[in-house]
């Protein structure tokens, strides 16, 4: 009872749906971060997170390396803590001395976290490579940022009101 015409048109329909899915997959959605899946976690404390939200991106020189997983207030000292998921592609890449700052893309764009990689002395690097510290020993010994570690060097978001207040205060003192 299924006529040939119906079969052909259903085939056409399915092909169209597949084409649409491909369009969405390749042209519309980014699969880079989400697709790879494997990530590791970092924590950072900021005095003020401004307009940062969960799922905001973490960028190094404009390249997205991870996302903000969750933002919460530390129960003890009431300081905002930001939990980051960094792609495992960048494992053992960023030194402990890296710093984070909350930046804004464009004048009205959304806020993101800029990661400024720190440095490691070349002689340390050699000994690290030789001892394979990061693979074997206690994670605390590793000079790179690893799972669950906290970044201490953070710069808070700029708050427009504070900035203007500061500007007026400086003007007044001159």
């Amino acid at each position: 009872m299924t006529s040939r015409k119906a079969e052909i048109l259903v085939g056409f329909f399915v092909a169209l749906a597949i084409a649409a899915t491909l369009l969405l997959a390749l042209k519309v959605a980014n699969q880079g971060m989400a697709g790879s899946g494997e990530t590791y976690k970092l924590n950072a404390r900021f005095d003020n997170i401004g307009g940062l939200k969960a799922r905001s991106s973490v960028k190094v020189g404009g390249v997205v390396v991870g996302r903000v997983e969750r933002i919460y207030l530390d129960g003890a000292d009431l300081i905002p803590v930001v939990e980051l998921q960094i792609s495992s592609e960048y494992k053992n890449t960023f030194p402990d001395t890296s710093s984070l700052s909350i930046l804004t893309s464009g004048l009205l764009g959304e806020q993101f976290i800029g990661l400024q990689p720190g440095f490691i002395f070349p002689e340390d690097l050699v000994s690290i490579e030789e001892d394979k510290v990061c693979e074997s020993a206690d994670l605390r010994q590793c000079p790179y940022l690893t799972e669950g570690e906290e970044i201490f060097d953070t710069k808070s978001a700029l708050v427009l009101e504070d900035l203007i207040g500061q500007f007026l205060f400086n003007q007044g003192s001159e």
Binding site: A6, L9, V14, L24, A29, N30, Q31, A34, V64, L108
Partner: protein, 262 residues
């Protein structure tokens, strides 16, 4: 006093009726679900995909195109005030993928295919075709309900994907070709904002849920309708009203679950 008793009695009666109806609908769904693996019926399912899917394709594509174009036009006039017309791409894409694609497709599907399914099944019941199938030792759940059910559940997510894709192209048509947004930024900002698993896949999941609801209501309303012309017209109306309301209500719940709590 008796008035109060009557009032409670009517609440009770309505509740019992609704519970019985939900039970019957569940039994029907159960029958339809377990009737799927029959090889013989695959041809029937394909035929029904043609009826509910392919024949809805035109209205879905035209609606998708226009909605994408309107979104681009409206979005542009707002975004251009902030010099943020580059964000037109993600705006169009996200609203289509997360909301408009699944929801509008489901509403159109309920109006176009759902009502037709109810009327068809209702008429089959009124003209004793369902009874006669049963007397011919052919289970109508297997022969009539199951293929339509699966065809609907398979077709709707595909229609929603096509709707979103066409809408995004329609947004490109207006935003880029007509209003002069940069084509590169339209696609690239869209690409950096839209995520496959969070946005696209969630939209598809929504669409599957809506499909289950619409087809289930449509088939049950047809199957249980009073077999008169008035009963069929009432059942058809109920299909469209109930499924539209349920789609919008479920959409809120699903959105809250998927995007609300992060």
């Amino acid at each position: 006093m008796t008035q109060l008793a009557n009032y409670f009695a009517s609440i009770g009666r309505t509740t019992i009726e609704k519970v019985v109806a939900i039970g019957q609908a569940s039994l029907m769904l159960f029958g339809a679900l377990f009737a799927f693996p029959k090889v013989k019926n695959i041809g029937l399912t394909i035929h029904q995909i043609y009826v509910v899917g392919v024949q809805s394709l035109l209205i879905i594509m035209v609606s998708g195109l226009f909605i994408g174009m309107v979104m681009a036009l409206q979005g542009y006039t707002i975004l251009v005030n902030y010099g943020a017309e580059g964000s037109l791409g993600p705006m169009v894409a996200l609203s289509l993928l997360r909301e408009l694609g699944p929801v509008v497709t489901a509403l159109l599907f309920a109006g176009r295919a759902g009502s037709a399914l109810t009327a068809e099944i209702g008429l089959m019941k009124a003209t004793e075709q369902l009874s006669s199938l049963e007397m011919m030792a052919v289970d109508p759940l297997r022969r009539v309900i199951a293929p339509r059910f699966w065809a609907g559940v398979i077709s709707m997510p595909m229609l929603a994907i096509i709707f979103s894709a066409i809408g995004i192209l329609g947004g490109h048509l207006v935003g880029v070709d007509w209003l002069g947004v940069d084509s590169g930024s339209y696609w690239s900002i869209m690409q950096s904002t839209v995520e496959w698993d969070k946005d696209v896949v969630n939209g598809i999941i929504k669409s599957i849920v809506f499909a289950l609801v619409v087809v289930w209501i449509a088939l049950y309303k047809g199957y249980s309708c009073v077999p008169t012309s008035e009963g069929i017209s009432q059942a058809t109306t109920q299909t469209v009203v109930y499924s539209s309301l349920l789609i919008l209500g479920l959409d809120f719940i699903l959105t809250a679950l998927m995007f609300g709590i992060s």
